[in-house]
Structures are given as structure tokens and as C-alpha cells.
């Protein structure tokens, strides 16, 4: 009974701690960039569970590292409408995998595809974002700020607030004083240190730091206690990228007058009126002859763009799979015409929802606290079990994880392959007990996660090199040997092996012997 009460209390406490703040209006508590400036994003009214294994402790364990494959591009340059060229990266992560009853098990949330970027993905600028081989245009987004009250982070551990992960990373003493450092990351693992530094809290080093409050754009917090054991926050906020909108078709980009119209699928977009003096343009979306959306776009609020939600939404119209906006650049109006961009085949990637292209996966856009997007994650929804010889396809078959050979609790052979069938080296070996993986060279796979698991990855790679190169290695990855043997067979067919020399010798002897017999018969005849 007492246990039930205690567990009930614990659940209630967790519930309270996990619920978004309601009583306090945190829109008035959080600090904007400067006095008088509004918060760029609204305070979230709901809490959405982050992807599984978002905490630092859930990072891959002793993972294999693959820099990339031909079909999993690294540093792919895209160009937006204004000539900016951010590199894009495909990444694949596997965490929490294990061997169980002769099978590899990857739990729900353990397999992640991550579209990563070296720079923030900015709305309204015509930036292409790779989506599993396609290259749609990033148009608009919805971001919110999640606030939680009474959050405690034990030393070394982490919590997730919205799409943001806080880790209590270090305490550094100085005489009788001390400071306490937080690492701030995204759910995908993007470490914001390169952009914003790391928040430091201290009550004792009063002239060095700003007490127990910190501000990292819209990731903010106010602690009541910070000591070497834990930091206890009154409240802690973190941004969450709720939705990004992309579009496959570019319908129109240019100056438009009243009466201009364009077909986008079964819908028509029409300019109803242009008022350059007022800085507005009226657009209509027509479906089956009826106006289903009429919106006045503008005026442009240049001081707040691009991140401010209100200012941006004033420029954007969206209905079904049609989306467009009054472009502020290089100028919203010229010669009495409006500078419009219109897109068709628009689709949304919503935080925590099923990915429409492959319902086995849930999608999580990744947000930067300034309001830019930082790629998106596709995460498996169901547990994956792989027997030797089995494989699992990534989202839309974009890549494949294949297990070749298991012996006891050791994965002797496994690999990752891209859609075209290009395989990684054998990632298994006599000391490998999981299929945890880091693939890629982006902000996470090639940078941030190295801080967490880089040493393990290097040690694993070297250990596996040693065991696989040892002359008496106990059949390291027999499957690979088998594959190599197949290759060797084809290769030896092309060259003169001893067997081939002998075969050609027999061939010559046979020809000679038959020639002799035929010749002898002819002589007799």
C-alpha cells in the first residue's frame, strides 16, 4: 500500500514537473533580444514527447563510425534564392542496440536518419533542403517555446525541454567559490556552443557571471540552487520546431499585378489587388471556382523578419498543398507590382508525427533557438529485430542496415548500405556486441557527438582493426570473407591462376590428342 502511495506520488510529481507552465505568463517572463522587441515565437500550450533517447546518457555506445557512402551525401552544397550556399549532410545513428537470442535488437527510437546542415535553414529564402534524395524548397515554419517549472538536473545528467537538451556538464572551483556549466543541445545532438557558448551559473563568483539566470536566445532559465550535486531551476525554457513546410514545385517567383493567376495542381492562386503604397497585396486561392482562402499579405516589418512569427505570418498564405509569400527581398514592391513567390506540392514535417513518406518512422524537425531550422530526424516507431542475413530499410529505403553474422553475443558481421547498394566495410568483429552507429560528417555526426562518444569510436575502430588484421583472427566476419571470396572468384577468372593454367594445358592436350587421332585416321584412309 505504502509502495502504491509512493509510486503514485512520484508519478504525480513527474506529471507536474513534465507539464508546461500554465499559471505564469512566460511571454512576459522570458527576455527578448532587446527592450521593446517581442518574443519571436509563442509560448507552447502543450508538451509533446521528444524522440526516444534524446538524453545525453542515451548516446550510441562504442559505436561504429562511417564517414559516409556515395548515396548518403556529405557536404552537399545547395543554393538558395540569394546565393547562400549551406552544406547539407546525411546522417544515420543507431543507439541502444543489443544482441538478444541470436538477433540484433534496435529499440523503437534507436534508428535515426538525420538531415543535418552546417548553417541554419532560413525560411522565405528559397533554401532547398534534402529530403531522402529529393530537394524541396523550405518555405515556412512554426516554432514555439516550451517552459517547464521545477526542473532539477543532477550533475552529469540531462533533461529535455521542448526540442532542447540541457546537460549539467561541469563544476569548476576557485577557492571557496565555484561556477556550474550547462551544455545546450538539440534533440538531434547539435551543440550550440559553436554559436552561443555555454551558459554558466554561479552564486559565488558574483563579478564573473550573471548569478543563477541564463539566456541563450529563447533557451532561458532561472535556477534557485546550483551546487556540485545538482542545479534546481524554478523554470527552464527550450525551443521546439513544431513544423516546417517544404514544397516540391516552384509555381511562380517574380513581380505580379492584380488579376495575375497561376495553376497549382487543382487550385488557382490569384492576385486580387496590389496596394504598393500601403505595402499590401491581396491573394486568393480558388478551388472548384470558389475562393477558399483570401488573405492580405504585408506590410513588411523588416525589423522583425525573418524569425518573428507574427511578422513572417503576415507575409505568408497557405492552403492545402499551396503556399506562397510576399517576398521582402530585394524589395516587396516594384513598379506597382508585388514580389511574390508561390509553391505547389507543399507538405509539412510536424514534430512527433508519423512521416507521411514512410509510416514506420516519426519525424522531428530540429530547431535553432534563434528560429532557424537545423535539419530533421526520422526515427523508427517500432522495435527492429534482425537475424543473421536479415536487414532493415531506412525511411523510403534510403539506406539499409544489414546483419550478416552473429556468434553468441558478438556481431561478427554487419554493414550499412545506401540505396544504390554501396556497402560500408564490415562493421562487426569479435569484440562487437551491438550495432550502434554514427554515420556522417555534419554538425552532429562530424562535430558535436564526437565530444560525447568520439573517444569510444576511435578506440573501437582501432581495436577492430587489430582484431580483424590479426592472422589468427577467429573468422572475422565470415560473411565478408564470403563476399570477398565471390569477388576473388570473379577476379581470378580474369587472371591466370594455377587452376586456369592447368585447365588451358588440358585444353591444349585435348586438342592435340584429337588432332592426332583424326590425322591418323586420315593417313589410314
Amino acid at each position: 500500500m505504502m509502495r502504491q502511495i509512493l509510486s503514485g506520488t512520484a508519478v504525480a510529481a513527474l506529471f507536474v514537473a513534465a507539464s508546461p507552465a500554465i499559471a505564469t505568463d512566460y511571454a512576459t517572463v522570458l527576455r527578448p533580444a532587446k527592450p521593446g522587441m517581442p518574443l519571436a515565437h509563442p509560448i507552447a500550450s502543450d508538451d509533446i514527447a521528444p524522440p526516444p533517447f534524446s538524453l545525453i546518457a542515451d548516446r550510441p555506445v562504442r559505436p561504429a563510425y562511417v564517414p559516409g557512402l556515395p548515396g548518403l551525401a556529405q557536404g552537399r552544397i545547395v543554393t538558395d534564392d540569394f546565393g547562400r550556399k549551406p552544406p547539407k549532410f546525411d546522417a544515420v545513428f543507431i543507439r541502444k542496440s543489443r544482441v538478444e537470442n541470436g538477433e540484433v535488437v534496435i529499440p523503437a527510437g534507436g534508428l535515426v536518419y538525420h538531415e543535418d546542415t552546417w548553417g541554419g535553414e532560413v525560411a522565405l529564402r528559397g533554401e532547398p533542403i534534402p529530403v531522402l534524395g529529393r530537394l524541396p524548397t523550405y518555405v515556412d515554419y512554426d516554432m514555439s517555446i516550451v517552459v517547464k517549472e521545477n526542473v532539477t538536473i543532477p550533475a552529469g545528467q540531462s533533461v529535455v525541454i521542448g526540442g532542447t537538451v540541457y546537460q549539467y556538464y561541469a563544476t569548476v572551483g576557485h577557492g571557496k567559490t565555484a561556477n556550474h556549466t550547462l551544455h545546450v543541445k538539440t534533440i538531434a545532438g547539435t551543440d550550440w556552443e559553436w554559436a552561443f557558448g555555454s551558459p554558466v551559473l554561479s552564486t559565488t563568483q558574483t563579478d564573473w557571471w550573471n548569478g543563477l539566470a541564463f539566456t541563450q536566445l529563447y533557451n532561458q532559465g532561472k535556477a534557485r540552487e546550483a551546487n556540485p550535486k545538482q542545479i534546481a531551476f524554478d523554470w527552464l525554457s527550450g525551443v521546439r520546431m513544431d513544423r516546417i513546410v517544404l514544397a516540391d514545385d516552384k509555381v511562380f517567383a517574380g513581380l505580379a499585378s492584380a488579376g495575375d493567376e497561376w495553376k497549382a495542381g487543382r487550385r488557382t492562386v490569384k492576385v486580387a489587388a496590389v496596394d504598393a503604397a500601403a505595402g499590401t497585396v491581396n491573394v486568393e486561392v480558388i478551388e472548384d471556382g470558389k475562393v477558399v482562402l483570401a488573405k492580405t499579405l504585408g506590410p513588411v516589418q523588416n525589423d522583425l523578419l525573418i524569425e518573428d512569427t507574427g511578422a513572417r505570418k503576415k507575409l505568408v498564405f497557405e492552403h492545402g498543398d499551396v503556399i506562397g509569400f510576399l517576398s521582402p527581398w530585394p524589395e516587396p514592391f516594384k513598379d506597382g507590382k508585388a514580389n511574390l513567390k508561390i509553391y505547389g506540392k507543399a507538405f509539412s514535417l510536424r514534430y512527433g508525427e508519423t512521416y507521411a513518406g514512410d509510416p514506420r518512422f516519426a519525424v522531428y524537425p530540429v530547431g535553432c533557438p534563434t528560429g532557424h531550422n537545423f535539419g530533421f530526424m526520422l526515427v523508427n516507431k517500432e522495435e527492429i529485430r534482425l537475424k543473421p542475413g536479415a536487414s532493415v530499410d531506412g525511411p523510403e529505403d534510403y539506406f539499409k542496415i544489414a546483419v550478416d553474422r552473429i556468434e553468441g553475443d558478438k556481431v561478427l558481421g554487419w554493414h550499412v548500405a545506401d540505396k544504390q547498394g554501396n556497402r560500408s566495410a564490415n562493421l562487426g568483429g569479435p569484440t562487437i556486441t551491438n550495432v550502434d552507429l554514427v554515420l556522417g560528417q555534419g554538425r552532429v555526426a562530424g562535430q558535436a557527438i564526437l565530444k560525447d562518444v568520439g573517444r569510444q569510436m576511435l578506440a573501437r575502430t582501432y581495436d577492430n582493426m587489430l582484431t580483424q588484421s590479426a592472422p589468427d583472427a577467429a573468422a572475422p566476419a565470415a560473411s565478408h570473407v564470403a563476399a570477398s571470396a565471390t569477388t576473388a572468384q570473379h577476379a581470378s577468372q580474369a587472371s591466370l591462376s594455377p587452376g586456369m593454367i592447368a585447365a588451358f594445358g588440358v585444353f591444349g592436350l585435348g586438342i592435340g590428342a584429337i588432332g592426332y587421332e583424326v590425322g591418323r585416321r586420315r593417313r589410314k584412309a
Partner: protein, 184 residues
């Protein structure tokens, strides 16, 4: 006189026998490693790690991808030649026939050593031959078998046509008698 019709029948039976044996010993591979040895590739597996073809189709795909039809031809040729050699029997000389049959048997086994039955043969110690012949294409083994069995047939038929046995025996005994008498 070469019994061509009988040899064709035996050739067919030998080749068909190999095909049947190949089918009976075929097991759908459970792992990618085994599958690669049978001529399958990753694309032949589904997401659950199973071969996507039904057993008969899987065997036929393996049979054709590994060009096992050349092995069937080699085995058929060897068996047909063995039948021919046994038919001519002692008329061509016991030692010669024994050698021909043995040689043809070696040809048949060497063809089998690089076939789908190779793993079973390696159990009984014939894996080395398979290793030696691993790089030799099966069409070349079949061609060599054709040449050697063809030569064997020409050789044995020459032996037969050079000396029709009944008259030869008489002639031999007659001349021997004469020789014995002259010596006396």
C-alpha cells in the same frame, strides 16, 4: 561402331541426374553469407531477412546464376563416356578401359568440385580440388571434358577398328602355332 544413341541416352540421364541431385541437395540459404555462395545478392532478401523467392524458384535462380548447366553437361559427358568404355569392355583391352573409366570419373568429380555440391564434397576431403579449380570457369571445364572424352572415344574406337577381335585371335593363334613349329 560407336553406339551414339545409347550414349546420348546415358548423357541425358547423367545430366538430368545431376540436375535432380542439385535440386534435392539445395537448401534455401538462411544467411547472407550462405546466400552469396549460392549466387544470391542482398536484393534477393526482404526486410525480414528472408529470401524473397519460393524454394523451387530460388533453386533455379541459384542454378542458373552459378551456371550449373555447364556442370550438368560435364557430368553427362563423363557418364556417357564411362558407359561407352564399359560397352566396348575387354575388346579394347581391360587396362585401357579401366584407365578410360577412371579418367572420366576424375573429370566428373572435378566438375562436381566446383558445383553446388562442393561443400558436401569438401566434407569427404575433396575440397582441395575445388580450391584448385575455383578460378576455372565451368564452361572451360565442360569444354575440356568434351575434348578428353571425345579423344577417349576416338582412341578406343581406333583400338576396336584396328583389330576385329575374333579374327585377330585366330590370326594370332595361327601365327603362334607356326612360330612354335618353326622353332621346333
Amino acid at each position: 561402331m560407336i553406339p551414339l544413341r545409347r550414349m546420348l541416352v546415358v548423357f541425358g540421364l547423367g545430366a538430368l541426374g545431376y540436375v535432380v541431385l542439385s535440386y534435392l541437395t539445395f537448401r534455401v540459404p538462411a544467411t547472407l553469407a550462405d546466400a552469396e555462395l549460392c549466387g544470391f545478392v542482398e536484393q534477393d532478401f526482404n526486410a525480414a531477412g528472408q529470401i524473397v523467392y519460393p524454394p523451387v524458384s530460388a533453386w533455379w535462380i541459384s542454378f542458373t546464376r552459378l551456371q550449373e548447366y555447364w556442370t550438368a553437361i560435364s557430368v553427362g559427358l563423363s557418364v556417357a563416356f564411362i558407359a561407352f568404355a564399359l560397352t566396348v569392355g575387354r575388346r579394347a583391352g581391360g587396362g585401357t578401359v579401366t584407365g578410360a573409366v577412371f579418367g572420366s570419373g576424375v573429370l566428373a568429380v572435378s566438375a562436381l568440385c566446383v558445383s553446388c555440391l562442393a561443400p558436401a564434397l569438401s566434407v569427404v576431403g575433396l575440397g582441395i580440388a575445388g580450391t584448385l579449380l575455383a578460378g576455372v570457369p565451368k564452361w572451360l571445364i565442360a569444354l575440356n571434358t568434351l575434348l578428353l572424352t571425345g579423344w577417349g572415344m576416338l582412341f578406343l574406337s581406333r583400338r576396336l577398328s584396328a583389330c576385329a577381335l575374333p579374327s585377330c585371335e585366330k590370326a594370332q593363334s595361327h601365327s603362334t602355332d607356326e612360330l612354335l613349329q618353326s622353332q621346333a
